[in-house]
């Protein structure tokens, strides 16, 4: 999905929030007041509603996980029943996972190959976008040239061109003009990098432009050129923003289907795991019971990235700043 925060003051707002409260209300008074307000607001009904939402939001994924470890006969055919019956008879197996990842037989989903493809696509793209976007963001923030504002607004606007508009001509350009062979990673790398740049530049620009000018001036006085300033000062200071953009970029590219369908050629050599997953879930057949395990293999990496780096991810969402 596309995230398009409007740059604003809220990142600052959240940062200074505690200070502001302290200024207006004496800290000693603030605590009991807040407790009282909280008591008013979080009624029992609100808590109940929150729990209901949390359960409804979690049950589908949980059901998938449970389904994926149930034997085939429990999932399809006359002896099948709902995944919740798992808790009545603890009949579980890892065979589905073995079947789905082992690379044997034409019937096999062969997921391990596609899994490696996804990694091979995601890692370079993330690096490309981070480097190119931070270079452009730096020059938009601290460069001195005509049309800087206009150029940046233009890049911002590009963010919202639907991918769909670019696909057909880009495919023609790749295959007919540039002669990039289909069925290689190259097309996917370039396409994903292009599509990741506008948001990348936008997010990083917001962060980099807030680095204090004195830091850069001081370096200039010491005789540092733009390249030194960029690699030695800007990038190290931008690590939080770079981290969140990296997570974003990783999740998008890993979860992408559309770009993969158009540019991968669909072979086991190149196509990512989402594409294979879409194929096997699209065809109804005797091996339907493998779908939950296959789906879980494909979401395990993004989920791990998500839960491991959640803090940076959320910070990235808020990095553009949001007006309170």
């Amino acid at each position: 999905m596309t995230v398009m925060p409007v740059p604003d003051e809220a990142a600052k707002n959240t940062r200074t929030e505690s200070k502001r409260v302290g200024r207006a209300v004496d800290p000693d008074d603030a605590a009991p007041i807040m407790r009282r307000v909280k008591g008013k607001l979080t009624s029992r009904w609100a808590t109940a509603a929150a729990v209901v939402i949390a359960v409804v939001w979690t049950v589908p994924t949980f059901g998938l996980l449970v389904s994926s470890i149930r034997p085939a006969a429990k999932q399809v055919g006359p002896r099948s029943d709902g995944w919740w019956n798992f808790f009545a008879d603890w009949d579980f197996t890892f065979k589905n996972y073995v079947d789905v990842t082992a690379a044997a037989g034409s019937q096999s989903a062969n997921l391990s190959q596609y899994f490696v493809n996804s990694l091979a696509i995601v890692v370079p793209v993330t690096v490309f976008v981070l480097v190119l976007a931070s270079m452009a963001a730096y020059i938009f923030a601290w460069g001195n040239f005509k049309g800087r504002e206009a150029g940046f607004i233009f890049v911002f606007a590009l963010q919202i061109i639907p991918l769909q508009m670019a696909l057909i001509p880009l495919l023609q350009l790749f295959t007919q003009v540039l002669q990039i062979p289909p069925g290689s990673y190259t097309q996917l790398w370039i396409a994903h990098t292009i599509f990741g740049l506008p948001l990348g530049i936008f997010l990083l620009h917001n962060f980099i432009s807030e680095i204090p000018g004195e830091v850069i001036e001081a370096a200039k006085v010491d005789g540092a050129g733009h390249t030194t300033i960029f690699w030695r000062i800007i990038l190290p200071l931008s690590v939080p923003a770079l981290a969140s953009l990296a997570i974003f970029q990783f999740l998008w590219v890993w979860n992408d289907l559309l770009v993969a369908l158009v540019f991968s050629g669909g072979t086991a050599d190149v196509a990512p795991i989402t594409q294979r997953l879409a194929e096997i879930s699209g065809t109804r057949g005797s091996r339907d019971y493998l779908n939950p395990a296959a789906a879980f293999v494909s979401i395990i990496v993004p989920l791990a990235v998500f839960f491991g780096l959640q803090r940076y991810f959320v910070r990235g969402l808020l990095a553009g700043g949001l007006k309170g």
Partner: protein
Amino acid sequence: MDFIGGKLLQVVIALAVFAAIIGLLMLLVDRAPKSAKDKITVIGFLAPAAVLLLVGLVYPAVQTSFLAFTDSAGRLNGLDNFVWMFTQPEALATLRNTVIWTVLVPLLSTVFGLAYAVFIDKARGERILKALVFMPMAISFVGAGIIWKLVYDYRGPGIEQTGVLNALRVALGMEPKQFLLDAPENTVFLIIVMVWIQTGFAMVILSAAIKGVPMELVEAARLDGANPWQQFRNVTVPGIRGSLVVVLTTITIATLKVFDIVRTMTAGNYDTSVVANEMYTQAFRAGEPGRGAALALILFLMVLPIVVYNARVLRQQKEIR
């Protein structure tokens, strides 16, 4: 596992080539003569991104706009593709569905996200409660499609149900339902999947915004005798208006482009297609790139007002700074 070696090699080569290009650029910028140094710096830092964006996004977008006025053989055919779009019942259904999606998804996601953010604000275990609802953001649309197919699973009456929803229906004495087959409500069931994914996003942003609303304002309203609903309505909501706009815009744009959910769950059959999916079908399956391009252009025109609005907000804020 021998396939890994070759793939790893490709990745390493790509990264090495990239590093060489960037290294060369940096060297050029560094060695530039003093008189032209600033100019060359700007070009060196901007050129890679600029070239990629112009060649990969701007040029294709212009190209697609032209393609929209040609037929399957590449000849100009005026407005035929648009006439097709606005007269064929299937194409019209696609447009209608897209409108339903873009109204319902942002609205429902924001309402649920906001409600949840308010309910769990400062509650015990807030972080875990947030993570649970935010989690679907990390799951691909394809994965989400499979997850929800499981939820919507249908078996004939009298047979043991394997889908949660139909099991509930049967338990309540109702007939099981073919959630994804019966138009027009099947579109709503697909929309629920998108709402499931987007609510976490809305919740995280709005939760941060709520925490930015000054406590003393809420307290003042309370002292004036406002009940919790009035406090929420008259203090919190105006305080987070900016974030609400951002959330609504972002989700609207994401929804307009949505493609994978429809594709994995119904493949656009049973009257559920949306513009983004139909565009792919026409351009890459049906051999009608002109029609696909016309649909893409319509998609762009639908997004355009949002672009203009946000670019204006952006400019205003730049001026304030």
